[in-house]
Amino acid sequence: MDHFPSNWGRPRNDAIDQYATYPIHSRPKDSFAEGVQRTQQPIVTGTSVLAFKFKDGIMMAADTLASYGSLARFKDVQRLHAVGNHTVVGAGGDMSDFQYIQNLLEQLIVDEISAQDHHTLSPAEIHEYLSQVMYARRSKIDPLWNSLLVGGFKDGEKYQPSNPRRPLPLTVYLRFLAYVDLLGTTYSASTLATGYGAHIAQPLLRKAVESREEILTEEQALKIMEACMKVLFYRDARSLNKYQVATITKDGVKISDSKTLDTSWSFAENIRGYGAQTQ
């Protein structure tokens, strides 16, 4: 029996301070104290996620790289995650936190199916759930270090905007696209990009997509997406030329196999200090 109450509930460590000679507030930490640690910084990270609306739904893309600092550590990681049949979640930031979020979402779907009430979660509901989780964790100062895009397409009820208390339900297909991050910040727009993509791809996307959301076909959307991923690969040092595209339409979720970008580097020869020049 250990007679020192300050040792109770702690893993035993006979090597250090066996007789509890330190005052409680300054006693040496045991070797497991460091084991309980909150995510104070991201470790293995994914870079940008891009998404936008087009005529028949939502298109989202992310490369397949998970970096460890500047090291390209894992080159075949899926950062697009389908949730049910109507929604895709794309993640940038810490990949272990993202895997935890994937677990949460799987559990959420299992619970929803178990209810056997023929109700399936809409993209808006999944986004709301994620916002609450992300905001709750930031409020505990123990954030999930991610930027997430939620894209989806589902039949739902459209509310008559002129009278919110007594809505007239109209069944329509609704495109949904929204963002949530480690602070619980949320927003929605017809084009979204996380991380480096918010600075580099977002202006290109806005130019290509805004006011054409109802016209763009899937083929045109794919072209725009590829162009943006290419620019990101050229300019973002933490990116990869392998990426996946998710399309969410009324037919459900479709996540492509990984595609490879066709890039050209011949221009590098002409850059002083980059190519083979000696002078």
């Binding site: 104070q40 910084q41 905001y135 930031r138 409020s139 100062i141 954030p143 905007p161 002129s162 009278n163 919110p164 208390r165 963002y179 602070l183 619980g184 910040t185 949320t186 927003y187 929605s188 727009a189 918010a198 600075h199 977002q202």
Partner: protein, 255 residues
């Protein structure tokens, strides 16, 4: 120096900051029997525009509208919680909470988080039980006061002195034998609100994209005339009798 050596040799943990600032500006003006609550719709972080349409002004009841500005995640959560408390009140009392009670509720809710505050500036506008227009403004930890007009947010320092001059007639002298009005009519207030936001948009990078103006009108008010046939006006009243709520939407410059 030993102190600076520690900083040099030991890695400093950059601690997680649970707050950010999302820009934008809100403003409210009370009339004798109406209240105007407005906000721009740009949401930004640093130099990036996150979206051109993220509402900051919310209808709580038919007689109260709340504008929130500061950290958007806190703002949305705060509005959600206020709405929830108002619904509970409806279930318990079978009526909407009066605006001065909502104001006190907001003060209590903000102060409850005194040591981990909602980083949000609130302005509550609407109609008092006696039928007068009201504006209540709050700081992030719940200090509040009833006023005639208030601006808050990124361009508060640009807008508030303009409102002092145009609403309170500060630094102006009335013509001999006349008096300045205590309250301006809606037809004068709306252009002042629009001018305030176009001015703020011109000189502040975090203000712009869109403008949402909520107008709460007391039952039987004469201010209704002219409001309904205004361009882009939409009624969002919930009940059929009592106060009425309208939204006016305008574009602001997007650069």
């Amino acid at each position: 120096m030993p102190g600076s050596m520690v900083a040099m040799t030991q890695p400093v943990q950059q601690s997680f900051n649970p707050y950010t600032e999302n820009g934008g500006t809100i403003l409210a003006i009370a009339g004798s029997d109406f209240s105007v609550i407005a906000g721009d719709t740009r949401q930004s972080e640093g130099y990036s525009i996150q979206t051109r349409y993220a509402p900051k002004v919310f209808r709580l009841t038919d007689k109260a509208v709340l504008a929130v500005n500061g950290f958007a995640a806190d703002g949305n959560m705060f509005v959600k919680k206020v709405k929830q408390r108002l619904e509970w009140y409806r279930h318990a009392h079978a009526k909407d909470m009066p605006i001065r009670a909502i104001a006190r509720l907001i003060q209590t809710m903000l102060y409850a988080r005194r040591f981990f505050p909602y980083y949000v500036y609130n302005i509550l506008g609407g109609i008092e039980e006696d039928g007068t227009g009201a504006v209540y403004s709050f700081d992030p930890v719940g200090s509040y006061e009833r006023e005639t007009c208030r601006a808050a947010g990124a361009a508060q320092s640009l807008v508030q002195p303009f409102l002092d001059n145009q609403i309170y007639f500060k630094n102006q002298t009335p013509a001999a034998g006349t008096q300045f009005p205590q309250h301006l009519p809606l037809t004068s207030v709306l252009p002042l609100v629009i001018d305030s936001f176009t001015s703020a948009t011109e000189r502040h990078i975090e203000v712009g994209d869109g403008l949402e103006i909520y107008v709460v009108v007391a039952s039987g008010s004469t201010s209704l005339q002219g409001l309904q046939n205004l361009r882009g006006v939409q009624e969002v009243t919930g009940t059929t009798d009592g106060e009425r709520v309208f939204v006016i939407r305008r574009e602001l410059k997007k650069d």
